[in-house]
C-alpha cells in the first residue's frame, strides 16, 4: 500500500457569495484550482510535480495536508484517512506530514526569531522546551547550512536563500515522514540549491522520508525524483517514472515544458524549442474539452469538445491526450 494515496481530490475556491447569490443559490465565481486529481506516493519515494505557475501545484500540496480543506476527494496517509480526521488527530498527524513553502519571504513571521520559528513544532507538539529545544533547533539549523549563532536573528536579516533554509529547518524539526516540498529550492542559488537537494536526499535516505516535490525546475525534478507528475490547469496530464517522462514525454505540454529548459552548453539558437502561445487560461473560466487545447500546437476539433481520458502507456507511464500517437514526435516535427 502506498504511503500517500490521493483520490479524486478537488479544491475549488469560491468567492463569498452575496446575499442575493445565497438566496438564488448562485455559487458565484469559482476557481477550480485542483480538479479531480488522483495520485499515489510510495514510502521512501520522491514524486516530482511540475507544471506552470498557477496550475494548482501548491493548492494540491496544501489540500493534501488539509491546510486548505479539500472540496472533494480523499487523502489517505499510511492507512489513515486524513480527510476524515478530527482536529486533535489532525494536529498529531501534522508531526508526520510537513510542508516547505515556496515563498521564503512571506512564510517567515517577521516578528519572530529564527529560534522561535524553527523551534515552534517542538513547543507545539511538546517535543522539547527551553535549552533542550534551543539545542535541537541549533542542530537543525546547522544541518540546513545555517549557524547556531544566528538563532536569535530575525528573518529580514537573512538573504532569500538563507530564509528558505530556515523554512526547511522548520519542516524538519519535528521529524516528519512525509514532506510536501513546495518549490523549496527555486529561490536558492545553485550552490545552496545543491546543498539543499543533497540534504533532502540525505534526509530521505537517513530518515526514510517521502517527498512530494513541487518544482518548475525540470533539472531538479529530473535529478531527485523517482516519479514525475505533470500538472496543467488543475489536472494531472502525464505521470510516470522519471526516465520515461523526461526522455520520452508523450503529452504535448510535457514536451513543450522540457524544450524550454535552459541548458548549459546548449546555445539558444542550437536548441529545438516548442513555443507555446499565450498564458495559462484562467482557472475561473477554464476551456472546455482538453484544457490544453488553447495553447496546444496539435489541437483539433475533438480536443475542443471532449476531455481526454488518462491512458496507460505501459511501464507505469500514463498521459491524458487525444492525440498521444500523433504528438509523439512534436519535438522533431517542430524543427
Amino acid at each position: 500500500m502506498s504511503l500517500l494515496e490521493v483520490t479524486g481530490l478537488s479544491k475549488h475556491y469560491a468567492g463569498r457569495p452575496s446575499l442575493v447569490q445565497r438566496v438564488t443559490r448562485d455559487p458565484g465565481q469559482v476557481v477550480r484550482a485542483v480538479n479531480g486529481v488522483s495520485l499515489a506516493v510510495e514510502r521512501g519515494e520522491v514524486l516530482g510535480l511540475i507544471g506552470e505557475s498557477g496550475c494548482g501545484k501548491s493548492t494540491l500540496g496544501r489540500a493534501i495536508l488539509r491546510l486548505h480543506e479539500p472540496s472533494a476527494g480523499r487523502v489517505t496517509f499510511d492507512g489513515t484517512e486524513v480527510t476524515a480526521l478530527a482536529p486533535p488527530a489532525l494536529k498529531a498527524m501534522r508531526r508526520r506530514m510537513q510542508i516547505i513553502f515556496q515563498d521564503p519571504y512571506a512564510s517567515l513571521n517577521p516578528r519572530r526569531t529564527v529560534a522561535e520559528i524553527v523551534g515552534l513544532p517542538l513547543a507545539l507538539h511538546g517535543i522539547a522546551s527551553g535549552e533542550e529545544a534551543r539545542e535541537i533547533t541549533a542542530r537543525v539549523l546547522e544541518r540546513v547550512g545555517l549557524k547556531a549563532g544566528q538563532l536569535d536573528r530575525y528573518p529580514h536579516q537573512f538573504s532569500g536563500g538563507q530564509r528558505q533554509r530556515i523554512g526547511i529547518a522548520r519542516a524538519l524539526v519535528s521529524n516528519p515522514e512525509f514532506i510536501v516540498c513546495d518549490e523549496p529550492v527555486s529561490a536558492l542559488d545553485v550552490s545552496i540549491q545543491a546543498q539543499i537537494i543533497a540534504l533532502l536526499l540525505e534526509l530521505k535516505r537517513d530518515l526514510g522520508l517521502t517527498y512530494l516535490f513541487i518544482s518548475h525546475d525540470i533539472s531538479v525534478i529530473g535529478y531527485l525524483s523517482d516519479r514525475v507528475a505533470v500538472m496543467y490547469l488543475g489536472e494531472i496530464v502525464e505521470t510516470g517514472p522519471v526516465a520515461a517522462v523526461l526522455d520520452n514525454p508523450r503529452h504535448p505540454y510535457t514536451q513543450s515544458l522540457l524544450s524550454a529548459v535552459p541548458e548549459i552548453g546548449a546555445r539558444r539558437d542550437r536548441k529545438a524549442r516548442v513555443r507555446l502561445q499565450g498564458d495559462l487560461p484562467s482557472p475561473l473560466n477554464p476551456p472546455k474539452g482538453c484544457k490544453f487545447h488553447t495553447r496546444c500546437p496539435l489541437a483539433t476539433g475533438i480536443c475542443r469538445s471532449a476531455a481526454p481520458q488518462t491512458r496507460d502507456l505501459g511501464g507505469a507511464h500514463s498521459a491524458a491526450c487525444h492525440r498521444l500517437d500523433e504528438g509523439l514526435s512534436l519535438l522533431e516535427g517542430g524543427r
Binding site: 452575496s18 446575499l19 442575493v20
Partner: protein, 335 residues
Amino acid sequence: MSLGKLLERIVQLVPVLLGVSLIVFVMMALTPGDPVQIMVGEQSITPAQEAELRHSLGLDRPMAERFFIFLMNAAHFDFGTSFYHGRPVADVIAERLPATIELSLVALVVALATAIPLGVMAAIRKNSLLDRVATVGSLLGVSLPGFWFGILLIMLFAVHMQILPVSGRIGYDNEVAAVTGFLLIDTLLAGDIAAFGDALRHLILPAITLGLPMTAILMRVTRTSMLEVMRQDYVTFAEAKGLPRRRVLYRHALKNALIPTVSVAAIETGSLLGGNMIVETVFGWPGLGRLVVESIFLRNYPLIQAAVLLYAVTYVLLNFIADILYTVLNPRVKL
C-alpha cells in the same frame, strides 16, 4: 459594488437598529428620572393634573408596550412627538441635522487636509523637527479639550482681532432659502457669494476646534502606515522608474498608506457626530448634539430614541462609504 452586497448591508442594519433601540429602552427603563417630574420642575401641579400630563405624553403605558409602539411607528418613520417641542421629533431633528452634518463634514475635511500632509511629511522626515513638532502638536490636540481651544480661538480671532464671528451659522442680514439645509450649498444655490463667505467665516473656528482631535489621531495613523508602505518594493520600483518624488510619495506610497487612515476616519467621524456637543455649545452652533444632550437630561424619550437610531444609521452609512473608499484605494478588496 453589486446590488446584492448593498442589499446585504441594508439587511445587516436591521439587527443593529433593533439592538440599539432595545438598549435605549432598557437603559431608559433602568435609569431613574421621571420625564413628567422634570418637565413640571418646581411649579405647582396637582396629582390629577400630573396624571393628565403623563397620559398626554403617553407615559402611562407599560414599557414593553411603548417599545412595541415605538418600533411599529418607527417602521413608518414616525418617531412620535417631542415632549418639549410640541412637534414631531422627526421635524425637530431634521432642523438641526444639516448644521451638524455640515460642521462635521467640514471638520472632517479640515482634519484630513491637515492630517494627511502632516503625517506624510512626518513620515518622510522621521525624527526631524517637523516630525516632533507635529507629534507634540497632535497630542496637544487630544490632551486639551475642545472648549479650551474653542475659547482660545474665539478670544484670538473674534474678540481681539475681530475677523471671525464668535458664534452662530450665518449673519442675520443674510437670508438664505433653505433647500438642502447646508448653508454652504444653499448660499451658492442662491448665488449669494457674500452670504457664502459669511457662512464660511462662521464655520472656520468650530470646524477647526472639532477637527483637532481627529487631526491628531489621523496624523499619527497616516505617519505610521506611511512608514510601513515606504519600505515596500513597489515604492522602490517607483523610485527606480525615476518618477518625481512627489508622485512616488503621494500616488504610490500615500494611496496605499491611506487605507488604515480611512478606516480610522470612519470610526472617528462617528464620534464627530455624537461628540460635538462641546463645540456646538461653545460656538452656539445649532446642531443636533446639543439637542440630544439636552434631551437626555430632560428624559425627552421620543427624541432620544429617534436620535439614537439616526446615529446608528449614520454610523453604518459612514462605514459603508469607508468600504467603498477602501475598494478605490485597494482594488484587491471587493465589496
